[in-house]
């Protein structure tokens, strides 16, 4: 396959940045999208040009490090992570536009690399059960109905890639935040801190500058792990009931 790649290049956070076109030949259908970029980078490096920087690590679709807004969609045309996207999803001669995630809360560091530490801070605000190591009851002393455990797992599958934010027209982080709020709200272990957690995580989400949710459902449609917006509804419930009933004045 021969491709034209229209890639966002930006030297650093303060650089204005812009698109640059690259021609790439000899692309195999069996390559993953990132391997295609590896080939481009090998060519650029050989020529002495700065390779295109992009985040990636596990290349198994689970670490959530890869991103890329490909041809107008986060992680490209398939509902998967970019590392699991293969070139068989593209056609010979196609022009592929590659952009970084765009959100105020995800500033671009270089080329296609963005800073997603806002997600870490949302989790730090309350995405945990406050138990210290040791001194916990036997695992089977906390029976959990299978259906509830499954629902919690559905939410817990989030890989924190940020595709939801990238897809949302408001750059909202509701799906990410709600996935963690939901997981812990569903499980008995999460009950103790349930109200405070919802309040704090929502507050942090807002403080990071993510937009509000307008229920377009784009996040769910683009989430590589298929996290459902029922989690957002659950977070709303959690939050509203928390603010009216918690002890936090």
């Amino acid at each position: 396959m021969n491709l034209t790649l229209k890639i966002w290049r930006q030297k650093n956070n303060s650089d204005k940045g812009g698109f640059k076109d690259y021609k790439l030949g000899g692309v195999s259908k069996d390559m993953s999208f990132l391997e295609m970029l590896d080939v481009l980078n090998e060519e650029l490096s050989a020529k002495g040009e700065d390779p295109v920087h992009f985040d990636h690590d596990c290349r198994e679709g689970i670490c959530g490090m890869c991103s890329l807004y490909i041809n107008g969609k986060p992680h490209g045309p398939q509902q998967t992570t970019t590392c699991q996207l293969h070139m068989r999803s593209f056609n010979d001669g196609e022009t592929i536009t590659i952009e970084p995630w765009r959100a105020k809360a995800f500033p671009v560091l270089k080329d296609l690399v963005t800073d997603r530490s806002a997600f870490d801070r949302i989790i730090q605000a309350g995405g945990y059960v406050s138990v210290n190591t040791g001194g916990v009851p036997d695992a089977n002393e906390i029976p959990i109905p299978k259906t509830i455990a499954e629902m919690a797992m559905d939410a817990a599958q989030c890989i924190g890639c940020g595709a939801c934010v990238a897809a949302c027209k408001n750059a909202s982080a509701m799906l990410f935040t709600s996935a963690k709020v939901s997981q812990l709200a569903l499980l008995p272990q999460g009950q103790v801190e349930r109200k405070t957690r919802a309040e704090k995580m929502v507050a942090q989400m807002d403080a990071e500058g993510f937009g509000a949710c307008t229920n377009t459902g784009a996040c769910e449609a683009e989430c590589p792990k298929g996290i459902s917006i029922t989690n957002i509804a659950r977070m709303n419930r959690e939050y509203f009931s928390a603010v009216v009933s918690s002890q936090n004045v």
Binding site: K73, K169, G211, T214, A233, N236, F240
Partner: protein, 227 residues
């Protein structure tokens, strides 16, 4: 900052207000439609005029109507605030976007739809509400009692084909606004459940078609009658 104002300043709090005011306005649409459908009764407007008078006299309705205006205002003000905030959350837009593959057009354009509906609303209020309340009204007698002939004003307005067309088109936009807004309000309130959400979706879809269609029917029928 008190917890109330803190909540109302949060994105979720603002969304809550949008949903609650939206649902109230949806309810208002139903009541308004039931009343207005009396325009189509073959009694030369008598039931409608009596209905209009009873509404004007009922103190409860007066309170509700003030509330209604307040809710419209809140819905508008908060939508502007949220839209501006949301816009600022993505300072640099994508060069290429295929949003149509992941979400409906109306869900992404509620602001535009809402603005058009607001313009309609202003014209509508000027044309009827203001006229009825403060304008020179023709009067009519039923069994010795004199009433404002609201029907006559409406009939006069709906004999103008441009006015009718404007109404019909506006109802189309209302339909699109409702097609997202109805179910969305429930989602915002946290009412998403595997058993009930499919029903809410269906009712919302039906509502978004039937209610604006019936509203649009009134000027169309009255225009035809005027010919």
């Amino acid at each position: 900052m008190s917890w109330v104002s803190k909540t109302l300043k949060s994105t979720l709090g603002q969304k809550l207000l949008m949903a609650l005011t939206g649902l109230f306005l949806i309810l208002f649409l139903v009541v308004h439609l039931i009343g207005n459908l009396q325009l189509l009764l073959p009694d030369n407007g008598e039931s409608f005029n009596l209905y209009a008078e009873s509404m004007a006299q009922n103190p409860l309705i007066r309170v509700v109507s003030i509330g209604n205006f307040a809710f419209i205002l809140l819905h508008v003000v908060y939508s502007i605030m949220l839209s501006r905030y949301n816009k600022s959350s993505r300072p640099i837009d994508y060069a290429m976007s295929k949003a149509s593959t992941n979400s409906s057009w109306s869900s992404r354009n509620m602001g535009i739809l809402g603005t058009i509906i607001l313009i309609f609303l202003l014209v509508h209020l000027k044309g009827f509400y203001y006229e009825i309340k403060f304008g020179e009204m023709p009067m009519v007698d039923y069994e010795g009692v004199t009433y404002k002939n609201v029907f006559a004003i409406v009939a006069a307005a709906y004999s103008n084909v441009l006015y009718v067309a404007f109404y019909v088109v506006a109802m189309g936009f209302l339909g699109f606004h409702l097609s997202h807004g109805f179910a969305s309000a429930f989602q915002t309130l946290g009412l998403n459940h595997v058993k009930y959400s499919p029903l809410i979706q269906k009712v919302g879809f039906g509502f978004a078609i039937v209610v604006p269609a019936l509203f649009a029917l009134i000027p169309i029928v009255m225009y035809i009658q005027s010919l």
